[in-house]
Chain length 186, copies 2
Amino acid sequence: MVRPGGRSARVQESVHTAVRELLAEQGREGLTVPQVAHRAGVTPSTIYRRWGDLEQLLSDVAVERLRPETPPEDRGSLAADLESWAEQFLDEMSSTAGRAYIRDALLGDPDGSNAGQCSAYAAEQLDVVLARASVRGEPTPGVERAVDEIVAPLMYRILFRPDGLDAAYARRLAHRALAAAEEPPA
Amino acid sequence: MVRPGGRSARVQESVHTAVRELLAEQGREGLTVPQVAHRAGVTPSTIYRRWGDLEQLLSDVAVERLRPETPPEDRGSLAADLESWAEQFLDEMSSTAGRAYIRDALLGDPDGSNAGQCSAYAAEQLDVVLARASVRGEPTPGVERAVDEIVAPLMYRILFRPDGLDAAYARRLAHRALAAAEEPPA
C-alpha cells in the first residue's frame, strides 16, 4: 500500500537514488536493504513494506533506468527511423549496464508488471516512429509486428543467443519490419 | 572443476533428482542448499564447490528440464511441421513449469551458458524440421531466421509481453518463417 502524495514520491526518489549511487560505487555484490535505507535516510522497514525485498527494489530501479528519455529521432523516412531506432536499442540493451538492468527488471518481478513496462516503453517508441511514417503517407506494419520483427529478436538474442549481435543485424531486422508493411494484413 | 567419470555423474544425478523432488513437494520458497544436500546424500560443500550457489544449481536443473525429449514430429510438410512445433514450444514454455524453468535458467547463469544451451535446444529442433524439408525439396529459411521469426517472439512475449499469446499466434509466426523461405538470401 503506497500512500499517495508528496512523501511517497520523495521516499521513492531518495531510495532509487541511493540504489543507483551504491550500484555505481560498489556494484550489486553485497548490496543490502539496510545499506540502501541508511544512504536514503529511511528505515529498512520502509523499504521492506514498500518493495518487499531487494530484488523487487532493484527491478523497479532497473525499469526506471530503461525508460527512454527522448522520443526516437526523426530521420525523414520509416526505413531510416527504424534502422536508427533498432541500432540504438541494441546498443543500449546490450551494453553492460543495459544487460544488468534487463536482468534486474526480470528477476524481482513476481507479477510481470516490470517486464511489461519495459516492453511498453519499446512499443511506445515504435508507435511514435510508425505514426510519423503514417503521417508521411508511408505504409507501415502494426506496432505488434514491429515488436516481433525488431524488439523480440534483439532481446531474445541478448538474453539467450548473443553471437552475431551487431548493428548490421539490427538494420536487417528493421528492413524485415519494413517488408512486413507491404504485406496484406493477417 | 568437475572431475570426469562416474562419481561426478552420480553426484549430479542425485543432486538434480533431489532438487526436482523438493521443488515438486514444497516449491522454491525456503529451498536451501543444506536441504538439497541432505536429500541427495552429499555434503553442502560438495554442492557449493560444484555449483557455486542455489541459483546456479536451479539454473542447471532448469536447463536439464528444458531439454527436448523427442525430435519434432514429422507431419509431412514444412508448413505443418513448423506450425506444430511452434504450438508445442509455446505450450511448454508458457506453462507454469516452463516459465519457472526459463526464469531459473536465466537467473543463476552468470556466464550465459545455460541460456545459450536453452537456445541451442530450440535451434537444434528447428534444424531437424528444416533439414527434413530440404530433403523433401521444399525451400526453407535458414535456422537463424527461423529462430528470429518463431522462437524469439514467443520467448520475448512469454517474458515481457504475455497478452495475446495463443496457438493462432504461434501458427502465424510459423507462416512468417515459411514466407521468409521464399525471400532471396540477405
